[in-house]
Amino acid sequence: MHLVYPAVLSALLFSVGLYGVLARRNAILVLMSLEVMLNAVNLNLVAFDVWLRDRLHAGQALTLFVIVVAAAEIGIGLAIVLLVYRNRGTSDVDRLTDLADSDDPSVVAAPEEKAEAAA
């Protein structure tokens, strides 16, 4: 199989992941698209490893590492999203703007409505 197929596929995958990160509002789905991006890179690495016929298989070794790292990241990512959900009642990425460089000094941020979290 010619190298271009996996390369194009990984590029597509990477773009899909990219779109997911930028467009989706729910934090969990953003995490998922991040994983898609990482796996796109894995595909890329494995494809190049085979194409280069690297005796050291550095590409595949790195893929293994990336998979492990992605797993760890998902663990922490979900923990953080859970934390945010519990604190803010929403995991909607667009609503988390308390830390903006607000102009009026007195009020830090309008308190979130409790009702929506309870629902």
Partner: protein, 666 residues
């Protein structure tokens, strides 16, 4: 004690006197007067001894390195020749008389100590100018005299006239000193030294590259200091100072310094005939203009001021025709009788309670009340009008003789036209001088009307000084012609100074014409002088200090007569003779207004422009540069929207841009 050590002491003593006066000042008021008079008197005596020792021998020179400058070093140098020592004697004499006179004139003035210190400092500076052999040291004395004149003219700083006159005096002389300094630089660069001898030898060997330019630059400074035509407007206003100051500074010494400087460096000026022509023209205009103006002045001191400008015009004329002996001769005699006139005027103002001639002409028997002043001023006015046998006649005749000699084309490299202009101007001025001299005497001492209120007796020292100064006024002219007793020409360059027949006859004739014309006009206007005019300083019962009388007189003159200079007095013979010219002559031909329009207004406009430029233009630039980072900062801060997806999009967009640039660009 060699001549040089004596000569060094002469300027040093008054300087130390001034320093001592300033330090003693408030602590020991008793010593104030002796500390003022004694050093100057000692300096006068020493100057006389130096003159006697130096005699008509060769010039003595001594020098000590003052400082290296990087190119032309400056030395503390002495150059004593006939001119220097005699003028030093004159300065010593007049300064001592003025100090003595001032002890009476300002006896209980709170600021007498600073006044006397400044006069001593001035005397020291004048001695320095006279004796100095190095141009830069001469400039130091030159400008110290300028600042002393500024402070002394501003002595009555309570009056508005004194406040504006002092700053005007300094600025106009400083305006002259600016080109003067550049002229000195040119001389030093061409001659390679500031020493006068070096410069004279360089001039004679023709090493000066632009003699005309240098001469004109120096002439500007001389015009400023000696109140010649373009820069003379400060002298009449300087009469707002006390009379002894005018006597010392504005009659005998400072104004003579310019003429003395030209006399000292005459070879430099002679290298360019154009400069001599300019000097002659300047002298002519000064003589005639000041003569006319003197006729129209109401203030007694302003008449004498314009007369001084006129007589300096004579000396400048003598220099223009290349005869520095005549010029210095006239300088010496003029110094004596003009100082006498000013001191006499002080006495007159004190006894009459006013300085306005119009008011004096309406006071009866003023002369009988102050006989000494009347007689001495009479003699001095006669000398001023160049009537024999007084010194004025001989010195003015020597000038006219030199001019006639040059007009005949006999003087080397002086064009005949220069001689003619000086001669004609000299003769016209002789008439005018005689005219205003008589006018002054008649109006002051031959007034009719109510007897004047007594303003207290004159302190005896003031009258004594008058007679001391009367001696040279009478005798100086005659002695100079007895070769055995005191052979003046030997002290100078050697040419004869005795008057020739033609010029003396011509001079005396014109003087008589002036006197008679004025006397006739005075008789004609006698009736009009019965109408009272002006006010007299109502002196309080106790004996008012002369200086205070003068101060109030100066202060009230403008309020009473509507103008600091002239007075609308129909009974003024000068008004009759001058006719339409009177109004212009009274205001010095409106030169002040001209200068205000030409110089003062543009400078103030430029100042306003600079103020605007600084506040608007430069300020906006500076605060503008301050604003740029603040705007950028505001933009970056607002970009922190807090939405993480904008951060991610910027991050990824940044990476894409970076990748594209890197991949494509390099």
């Amino acid at each position: 004690m060699t001549v040089t050590t004596l000569a060094v002491l002469v300027p040093l003593l008054p300087f130390l006197g001034a320093a001592a006066a300033l330090f003693l000042g408030k602590r020991a008021p008793g010593f104030a007067q002796p500390v003022a008079v004694l050093p100057t008197a000692a300096a006068f005596v020493l100057a006389a001894i130096v003159a006697a020792r130096q005699g008509s021998g060769p010039a003595t020179d001594a020098a000590h390195r003052l400082t290296p400058t990087g190119s032309v070093p400056i030395d503390l140098a002495l150059h004593l020749d006939g001119f220097a020592v005699l003028i030093a004697v004159l300065v010593g004499l007049v300064a001592t008389c003025v100090q003595l006179y001032s002890t009476g004139y300002l006896r209980d003035d709170p600021r007498y100590v600073s006044y006397s210190a400044l006069v001593s400092l001035f005397t020291a500076a004048m001695f320095l100018v006279v004796y100095s052999g190095d141009l830069m040291v001469l400039l130091v004395g030159w400008e110290v005299m300028g600042i002393c004149s500024y402070f002394l003219v501003g002595h009555y700083w309570e009056t508005e006239a004194a406040r504006s006159a002092s700053i005007k005096a300094f600025l106009v002389t400083k305006l002259g000193d600016v080109p003067f300094l550049i002229g000195l630089f040119a001389l030093a660069t061409d001659a390679g030294t500031f020493r006068i001898n070096g410069i004279l030898t360089a001039a004679t060997h023709g090493e000066l590259h632009h003699p005309t330019l240098i001469a004109l630059l120096l002439l500007a400074g001389v015009a400023g200091k000696s109140a010649q035509f373009p820069l003379h407007t400060w002298l009449p206003d300087a009469m707002a100072g006390p009379t002894p100051v005018s006597a010392l500074i504005h009659a005998a010494t400072m104004v003579a310094a310019g003429i003395y400087f030209v006399a000292r460096l005459l070879p430099v000026f002679e290298t360019s005939s154009a400069a001599m022509a300019v000097l002659a023209a300047m002298a002519a205009i000064t003589m005639i203009g000041s003569g006319l103006a003197a006729l129209a002045q109401d203030d007694i001191k302003r008449v004498l001021a314009y007369s001084t400008i006129g007589q300096l015009g004579y000396m400048a004329g003598a220099l223009a025709v290349g005869d520095r002996s005549a010029a210095v001769f006239h300088l010496l005699s003029h110094g004596a009788f003009k100082a006498l006139l000013f001191l006499g005027a002080g006495v007159v103002i004190h006894s009459a309670g006013t300085n306005s001639l119009a008011a004096m002409s309406r006071m009866g028997d003023l002369g009988k009340r102050i006989p000494d002043a009347m007689w001495t001023m009479g003699i001095a006015l006669a000398a001023l009008a160049a009537l024999p046998p007084f010194s004025g006649f001989f010195s003015k005749e020597s000038v006219l003789r030199a001019a006639e000699h040059a007009a005949g084309g006999h003087t080397a490299h002086i064009p005949a036209a220069v001689g003619w202009t000086v001669l004609v101007a000299g003769l016209v001025t002789a008439v005018l001088t005689a005219g205003y001299a008589t006018r002054l005497f008649l109006l002051a001492f031959r007034g009719q009307g109510a007897t004047v209120a007594d303003h207290g007796r004159e302190p005896v020292v003031m009258n004594a000084v008058l007679w001391v100064l009367a001696i040279p006024t009478i005798g100086f002219g005659m002695i100079s012609l007895l070769p055995r007793v005191f052979d003046l020409p030997q002290w100078f360059d050697g040419e004869a100074l005795s008057p020739t027949l033609t010029t003396s006859v011509l001079g005396i004739g014109l003087a008589l014409v002036g006197i008679l014309a004025m006397y006739g006009a005075w008789q004609a206007t006698a009736t009009r002088r019965r109408v009272p005019i002006g006010a007299v300083v109502a002196a309080p019962p106790q004996d008012l200090e002369p200086a205070l009388v003068e101060e109030t007189a100066i202060d009230t003159h403008a309020k009473v007569y509507g103008d600091i200079a002239a007075a609308e007095d129909p009974g003024d013979p000068g008004r009759l003779l001058l006719g339409p010219l009177h109004r212009h002559a009274a205001h010095g031909f409106h030169l002040d207004a001209l200068y205000a329009a030409l110089f003062v207004r543009p400078v103030l406009a430029a100042a306003g422009l600079v103020r605007f430029l600084d506040r608007e233009v430069i300020e906006t630039y500076v605060s503008g540069t301050g604003a740029a980072p603040r705007l950028l900062g505001a933009a970056v801060r607002r970009a922190q929207t807090g939405n993480v997806q904008t951060y991610l999009s910027v991050l990824l967009a940044g990476s894409v841009v970076l990748a594209v640039l890197v991949a494509v660009g390099a």
